[in-house]
C-alpha cells in the first residue's frame, strides 16, 4: 500500500511539473539564458501530517538551499521534535533538536532548459546530528498479587546521534519563486549514545530509534529570494 501511495504522489507531481513546463514556455523564451539565484527557504510540513496520526509527537523543521554551482545546491536543515507518550504504566517525554547539512544535484538542470528552468529532480547527501533528552515519569510496576508499586521517575538524560542520509526528490516551481517539493530519504545511523535504563523512542530528524536504518518522507513548501541573475551555464561535470 505504501508503494501505491508513493507512486500516486510521484505521478501527481510529474503532472504538475509538465503543466508548469508548458505554461512557462512562451514567456521564458524571451528572458532565457539568465538564471535567478538566491537562497531558498522552506518548511517541511510532513510533521503536520504526523500530528493527526500521533498527536503526542510534534515535529517541525525548516531548510534552506542555495545553488552554489550550476545544478549543485548546498543545503542546511534544522528542526525540533517533541514527544509526549502516556502509556498505562509510565509517561515518556523526549525533546531535542537536529541539524543536517549536505548537497543536492539537479538532474534536470540541462534537460528542460529553457522551459522549466528551476524544476528539479534531484539526488543528494546529508550528514545529520541530533541532541535530545528523554525521561520516564510516573512509572508503575504492575503486580496482581502484592499490589501495584509506584516507582516514581527516571531522571532526564541528554544524548547525541549522528547519521548519513541519501535523498531523492522532486521540486517544482508552482508559482514564480514558490516551490513545492517531495522527497524520500534513506538514513543510516553512524553513531549514537544510548541510555541503558530506557530506550529512546524517536531521534529528532532521524525517526524511530530502534532501527539503525530509516526511511522517511518530506513534503516541503519553499520560497526563493530572487537576489541576483547570473548567465545560465551548464554544469561543470556530469
Amino acid at each position: 500500500m505504501k508503494m501505491k501511495h508513493t507512486l500516486i504522489y510521484t505521478f501527481l507531481l510529474l503532472i504538475l511539473l509538465v503543466s508548469d513546463a508548458t505554461q512557462c514556455l512562451a514567456q521564458q523564451q524571451t528572458s532565457q539564458r539568465q538564471r535567478i539565484r538566491g537562497p531558498r527557504l522552506g518548511v517541511d510540513v510532513s510533521g503536520l501530517v504526523w500530528q493527526f496520526v500521533q498527536p503526542d509527537r510534534l515535529s517541525v523543521s525548516v531548510y534552506g538551499d542555495y545553488e552554489i554551482m550550476p545544478a549543485i545546491f548546498s543545503v542546511a536543515e534544522i528542526g525540533r521534535l517533541q514527544v509526549n507518550r502516556n502509556e498505562p504504566t509510565f509517561n515518556y517525554t523526549s525533546k531535542g533538536y537536529f541539524g543536517k547539512i549536505g548537497a543536492d544535484y539537479n538532474f534536470l538542470h540541462n534537460k528542460l532548459e529553457p522551459v522549466a528552468r528551476y524544476d528539479m529532480i534531484y539526488g543528494g547527501l546529508r550528514i545529520g546530528a541530533a541532541r535530545y533528552k528523554h525521561q520516564a515519569s510516573n512509572i508503575m510496576i504492575q503486580n496482581d498479587y502484592w499490589g501495584n508499586y509506584q516507582r516514581g521517575d527516571f531522571s532526564s538524560r541528554t544524548m547525541h546521534a549522528y547519521w548519513m542520509e541519501l535523498v531523492a526528490g522532486i521540486r517544482v516551481e508552482a508559482l514564480k519563486n514558490f516551490f513545492l517539493g517531495w522527497s524520500i530519504r534513506g538514513q543510516i545511523m553512524v553513531s549514537r549514545e544510548k541510555d541503558r535504563r530506557l530506550d529512546t523512542w524517536m531521534i529528532p530528524g532521524f525517526g524511530k530509534a530502534e532501527n539503525n536504518t530509516g526511511l522517511s518522507f518530506a513534503y516541503t513548501f519553499s520560497y526563493r529570494i530572487p537576489l541576483t541573475r547570473v548567465p545560465a551555464q551548464s554544469p561543470t561535470f556530469f
Binding site: I8, Q54, Y145
Partner: protein
C-alpha cells in the same frame, strides 16, 4: 488513494505489548536421601503471601515446584507454605531495580537475592540456586529441601 493513505497511517501505529511480563521466583522441592538430591512431588500444597488473603496455590496436587511473585514495593517477601498440620514461613531478602522492557510493555522489577530463610516444620532448609529473578518462564531460583521425616512416606 484515500484508502492507501489510511492504510499507511494505520501501519504507523504503535504495537501493543505482545508479551506477558513474568518475573516470578521458582522454588523446587527436593529431598536428600543417601546423599542424593531427588526431585520431590508434594501431595497437596497451599501457598500465600504473609498478610495476604488470596492464595497463590490452593491445595495444588503433585507439585514439584511453585512459582511465586515477589513484592515489588519492599526488599523482602514472605510466604506461608501449608503442606501438613504446621505451616512453614519462608522469607526472601533482595535488592530491586526496575528494568525497561519496551515502550509498549513498560518496566518490570529485577530482584537480586541476598538471603533466604525458612522455618523448620516440614522444610529442612532453603538454598539459592539462581540469585537473579528477572523476566523468566518457570526458572528455578531456590531449592527447598524437605525434612526427612516428611519424605519418608513419599
Amino acid at each position: 488513494m484515500i484508502i492507501g493513505f489510511i492504510a499507511l497511517l494505520f501501519s504507523c501505529e504503535e504495537p501493543e505489548c505482545d508479551k506477558t511480563l513474568r518475573n516470578e521466583a521458582g522454588f523446587a522441592f527436593l529431598t536428600i536421601r543417601d546423599s542424593i538430591e531427588t526431585d520431590t512431588l508434594i501431595d497437596a500444597i497451599t501457598v500465600r503471601g504473609l498478610a495476604r488473603d488470596s492464595l497463590l496455590y490452593d491445595s495444588s496436587a503433585n507439585r514439584s515446584a511453585v512459582y511465586l511473585p515477589l513484592d515489588p514495593s519492599k526488599d523482602q517477601s514472605r510466604f506461608i507454605f501449608q503442606m501438613g498440620a504446621r505451616p512453614d514461613t519462608l522469607q526472601i531478602n533482595y535488592t530491586r531495580d526496575e528494568r525497561f522492557i519496551s515502550h509498549a510493555c513498560g518496566f518490570i522489577t529485577r530482584f537480586r537475592m541476598q538471603q533466604a530463610t525458612t522455618t523448620h516444620n516440614h522444610f529442612d532448609s532453603v538454598t539459592t540456586v539462581n540469585p537473579l529473578v528477572a523476566l523468566n518462564e518457570n526458572e528455578t531460583h531456590f531449592n527447598i529441601y524437605l525434612s526427612p521425616a516428611d519424605t519418608s512416606g513419599l
